[in-house]
């Protein structure tokens, strides 16, 4: 890795790591007795390990100028492995908290093992760890190919990837120590947030620098989606995390917003995180990997542009549907509801565009589990965007809000759409990146596909049932006009669904573990004999006319 850096870049890396080490030391000294100090020590140790790594490769010969004849893919390879590691961690913790909901006594009386601390490890682990690394890795891959230009240098992509993963580790370890600013999907405290801003701006500039070197006159639509993801996430992250720390040596901070303004800012952030982190970026992924894998161009390039602008401008206004029937002014709620319903148009245009791209390649979808991952992703994208628009309607929300229906909806999107398209893209790019004929085992890809699909369906159906039962129980009145069921009654009714949900999670997690093993073995196994594979794949020859085919047992 260090051998791929030029002399100047190695020096640059040392300067950055030294600055990081000094920052870590200052944090550790200033934050004694506070989790802030623990994170300072973590930053210091990370920087020192990095310094040793750079020094040990410092005198390696410089990379040859021939490197400029190929794309720079080592960061993508690292990002894909990091994404799979986070997938296994994040999904395992997710299933753990699913069991905790069914059996709340399983916390070992330890603070770190309480639901409130483990749950953000799951959400950040899968969204930022798995999803984020996959987005960064594939965006490096896609931006270079679609621009026909190599990354402008070798140091910046590593800064983005390592910096981003350092943020993820600080976030996850912080939650376990009780560090949180209590904003859903934006839990990390001020110092982690500042670090992410630096990393993110460097990522944005790196993307623009690569596009600036492009040899294609037109910027391919995937890049629009990736860029919207990077730009808008920066905007959301900065505004929602405006806060004042109580001191320079403490992890605790107070938000600049209060009351309903805070709630509105948080859900403007929260829903646009769904829009631009979990949708826009992954649509960029889909618009590259699906046509590439199917061997067919996008069904309608124009529709991909129209839906891009539709998604970008409508989503911005949809966040307030998270705050129906709250202190938020009625007209802001109506605004969010209206834009959420309008969003169905560009969302279904995207889903339809994806499925029409596959029209004519259905035999490939049948035979190729990788393409099937992408097809199922497009179907779930269509389903969950319809469901989302529907749930944003105020009277529907009266039934669904605060129930497990919301959880089911989120997971239809996260498991069915985001994870499926990511696994498809990863399975497609691993053989391309490591120059293999195919994945180590096509059967294991099949196994992963069916486990993931079964897990998603079990999960989503369990939560739909449980959510609607919950919603109905909470609004059933008896003859005297008081509630017929207590909250605990509804909890007891949820128990079997919570077990079903956790079992669905086990299926999904098993699939991810199998996927990780398969990817690992593909990397470790040298290219297999292509000829041997081809004969194995060929259908049995048709018997000649007139000769009766042998029947079993003859």
């Amino acid at each position: 890795m260090v051998a791929e850096l030029t002399k100047n870049e190695r020096q640059g890396a040392l300067v950055i790591l030294l600055a990081l080490a000094i920052t870590g030391l200052a944090m550790a000294a200033g934050g004694r007795g506070d989790p802030f100090g623990v994170h300072g020590a973590l930053v210091l140790v990370t920087a020192i390990v990095g310094i040793f790594a750079v020094i040990s490769g410092y005198y390696a010969p410089e990379p040859s100028p021939d490197r400029l004849d190929s794309y720079y893919d080592t960061p993508t390879k690292f990002g894909i492995i990091a994404a799979m590691v986070w997938a296994v961690i994040g999904m395992a913790v997710g299933d753990w908290v699913a069991w905790l909901l069914a059996y709340p006594e399983w916390t070992f009386d330890a603070a770190w093992a309480s639901f409130g601390r483990l749950r953000p490890v799951h959400t950040s682990g899968v969204i930022f760890g798995f999803g984020g690394n996959a987005l960064i890795a594939t965006s490096f891959y896609v931006m270079q190919r679609t621009s026909r230009a190599r990354l402008p240098d070798q140091l910046t992509p590593w800064f983005v990837l390592f910096g981003y993963n350092l943020f993820c580790v600080i976030a996850a370890t912080g939650y376990l120590m009780g560090v949180t600013q209590s904003k859903e999907y934006a839990e990390p405290e001020w110092y982690a947030d500042i670090w992410l801003v630096i990393v993110w701006v460097v990522y944005f500039v790196l993307y623009l620098r690569t596009l600036n070197r492009r040899k294609e006159p037109h910027i391919y639509v995937s890049n629009w989606y990736y860029l919207a993801f990077i730009l808008v996430v920066a905007m959301l992250h900065i505004v929602n995390n405006l806060a004042v720390p109580i001191s320079w040596g403490s992890a605790k901070s107070y938000s600049l917003f209060s009351g309903v303004q805070d709630a509105m800012t948080e859900w403007w952030y929260g829903h646009n995180a769904v829009a631009f982190f979990l949708t826009s970026g992954f649509l960029g992924m889909m618009y590259y990997y699906m046509p590439k894998r199917a061997g067919r161009p996008i069904y309608s390039y124009r529709m991909s542009i129209i839906s891009f602008w539709g998604i970008t401008f409508f989503y911005m206004w949809a966040g307030s549907h998270h705050l129906h029937y709250t202190a938020l002014p009625q007209w802001v709620q109506s605004l969010g509801m209206t834009f959420s319903v309008m969003l169905l148009v560009p969302s279904w245009v995207s889903a339809g565009n994806a499925l029409m791209t596959l029209n004519g390649a259905w035999h490939k979808v049948r035979d190729d589990a990788v393409l099937r991952f992408m097809m199922v992703a497009a179907v779930f994208y269509g389903l969950s965007t319809f469901e989302g628009s529907f749930m944003a309607i105020r009277p529907v929300n009266a039934l669904s809000h605060y129930t497990d229906w919301t959880v089911g909806h989120v997971h239809a999107g996260a498991l069915g759409w985001v994870a499926m398209i990511t696994f498809g893209a990863i399975y497609a790019s691993v053989p391309w990146l490591w120059k293999r004929n195919g994945m180590y085992s096509a059967k294991l890809v099949e196994a992963h596909f069916w486990l993931a699909l079964a897990g998603t369906i079990i999960y989503v159906f369990a939560m739909w049932n449980s959510g609607i039962i919950q919603g109905l129980m909470w609004r059933t009145y008896n003859e005297s006009g008081t509630l017929a069921y207590s909250f605990v009654d509804s909890l007891v009714a949820m128990h079997p669904y919570y077990i079903a949900r956790a079992v669905g999670g086990v299926f999904f997690l098993l699939g991810a573990i199998i996927g990780f093993y398969n990817i690992w073995m593909t990397i470790r196994t040298a290219s297999q004999d292509e000829a041997a594979q081809n004969t194995a794949d060929r259908p049995v020859a048709e018997p000649a006319v007139g000769v009766p085919a042998l029947q079993p047992g003859e």
Binding site: Y71, P297, I305, W331
Partner: protein, 57 residues
Amino acid sequence: MTITHDLLVWFSKSFGLFYLIGLSLIVLVYTYWPANQKPFEHAAQAILDDDDKPYRG
């Protein structure tokens, strides 16, 4: 000048409405502009080429 609820509603119903309509028109004109069809088609096809090397001119 104080920003009142009525003022905000007036602003969103006038400027807000027209700027969204204006944006949609710009996007539609750009997308269907005849001269743009060739680059779009080229871009959609170009990603399928198996050219795994950056262009160096």
